[in-house]
Symmetry: C2
Subunit: 159 residues, 2 copies
């Protein structure tokens, strides 16, 4: 006759994170309005500004996104003039994502804009680092759990 404890939305870490993620999305959408970029488009450009060209797969590794999401996203970025998608000649399976001259030219403008908008949040580097460290731990736990399940499934298959 054990009583089940209720699950209350306001006590769920997942919902805090889900909600914060949506707010950040909105914040960046609005910060990047002068450039017409969405948040996922922006982080794709961030990675490319660090190290272009990259294959779709490499970009997906950094962003934790697959080709189902990236292919249409990159086509939109291409249409807007930020990137070029070029089929690799050494390996015809791969598509290399290059930055255009416009993207290179606008990089510092975007960096500056982001810096200004982030300063509005009034968070210290310390506060940010503490949260990121905690988030790394949570994400690691989530990965571990899902890997355990995958391994369990794999083991089941082989029996």
């Amino acid at each position: 006759m054990s009583k089940v404890s209720p699950v209350l939305l306001d006590e769920q870490l997942c919902f805090s994170i889900y909600s914060a993620s949506k707010k950040f999305n909105h914040f960046y959408q609005s910060a990047l309005a002068p450039f017409g970029l969405t948040y996922p488009q922006y982080i794709a450009l961030l990675v490319l500004w660090e190290d272009a060209p990259l294959t779709v797969h490499q970009l997906g590794d950094r962003l934790e996104l697959d080709s189902g999401t990236l292919t249409p996203l990159l086509k939109r970025l291409e249409k807007q003039g930020w990137v070029e998608r070029v089929r690799s000649r050494t390996d015809e399976r791969q598509v290399l994502i290059h930055l255009t001259d416009m993207a290179a030219a606008k990089r510092d403008e975007v960096y500056t804009r982001i810096g200004q908008c982030q300063s509005l949040l009034g968070m210290s580097d310390d506060e940010i680092n503490i949260m990121m460290t905690e988030l790394v731990t949570v994400k690691q736990q989530l990965d571990d759990v899902s890997n355990q399940r995958k391994i369990a499934k794999e083991v089941d298959k082989r029996i």
Copy 2:
């Protein structure tokens, strides 16, 4: 001749949160697989289990979602037998979301399942509370900034 500081993906709090949110989504999808629920469907049910019936608007306030997202989501929950959407008789504009008997009957089963899966994460209540407190602060900052912009726009209009 001031140099613009680069914006590196791995140093962005937004990306940590975005990525954690996706992992949580996946974690719950998998935890709730026996019930065929997605994460957003699950949190809608959580709110309804706390306090049904609710109007679409009231549910949206709790979940921070609008009718554009909730209407189709609730139709899917209805099709799967979790809720009933009933046009209010006292105010024909409103639609009341009621839980079905099946939803009431399965509540404790879902609560139990979630409790078991969360325990796999191995996080203490303290750790969770600390993170949630920090997230509240971040979200408040994000709200403040976007409200400031809204007010600024409003002021501009009136000039």
